[in-house]
Amino acid sequence: MATFVVLAVVMVVGALGVVLLKQPIHAALSLVGTLLALAITYVTLEATFLAAVQVIVYAGAIMVLFLFVLMLLNVQDAGPRRSLPGLRWAAYAAAVVTATAIAVVAFWDGRPAPDPAVVSLHLQGGSAGGIGDALFGELLLAFHLVGVLLLTGVVGAVALVQRRAESAHGAPKGGGLGAGRDASGTKAHALGSGGRR
């Protein structure tokens, strides 16, 4: 229980940092802390493979992508919206209280938690083998659809950020080479518009 309380405090503080911190870089790093605490929470829930994937994919790859774009675009969050001064804090407090109340009332019933020994026996610590059995068995269709979705996402991302006029003439054949050229073009262009501003 003590582990859960510590992790919960870290995650809630990190989440509040995401919402409240002014600097976007600080908010992103705060989210990294929350995601790492979430990975440890997965371990306490006997999902060790998911914890590893959470660290590698989410706290690693996705957040690095976020930080890269943040530094590329040099985003500054402008001041608060025009509203009553106390309204924002009232909204924060109301949201937290409401969520806690919903969670407690809707989910806190008297049924006992499942036997930890049985859970450990069934989940096998959430190992990659068990995950693979479910992934290639019951969820095989979802696995295939995710493959199609990832391909669509890659093609969509490249199509969205490539420059239209120049690259239409000398479109490169190699995918890796083209992606590299598009990335450098994006960077130069973004920096240019930042300078104009």
Binding site: M1, V12, A15, V18, V19, A27, A28, L31, T34, L38, T41, Y42, L45, E46, A47, F49, L50, V53, I62, L65, F66, V69, L70, L73, V75, A78, R81, A91, A95, V96, A99, T100, A103, F107, D109, A113, V118, V119, L123, G126, I131, D133, A134, L135, E138, L139, F143, L149, L150, T152, G153, V154, G156, A157, L160, T186, H189, S193, G194, R197
Partner: protein
């Protein structure tokens, strides 16, 4: 010693509410996007907690729940790639990602 499932779900609800607040309060589109990531992770936490709960009755249900989270992770990765590409395209056009200034995007 054994933390009840309700505690994890309550934590998930709080994290989701904080993320929703961020979506409503933040002005920069990329910060809205970070808050959406927070909401996605809150939902994942609830799924993993329920997977552990159901694993007490059915082994396959528990592992299937964890695998669903795995698929959600892949979908989130695709979403981040496309979303950040859209943000870069918008920033290139307007030199700003302020969501209040994007009124012409709506139908």
């Amino acid at each position: 010693m054994n933390v009840p499932t309700e505690a994890y779900v309550a934590l998930s609800a709080v994290l989701f509410a904080i993320g929703a607040m961020g979506v409503l309060v933040r002005r920069s589109a990329i910060m809205v996007f970070l808050s959406v990531e927070l909401m996605l992770n809150a939902a994942n936490l609830a799924i993993v907690a329920y997977a552990r709960h159901w694993a007490g009755f059915d082994a396959l249900a528990g592992l299937t729940g964890q695998t669903v989270v795995f698929i959600v992770l892949a979908v989130a990765a695709a979403e981040v790639a496309v979303g950040l590409a859209i943000l870069i395209a918008i920033f290139r056009d307007r030199a700003s990602t302020d969501v209040d200034g994007l009124a012409e995007v709506r139908l």
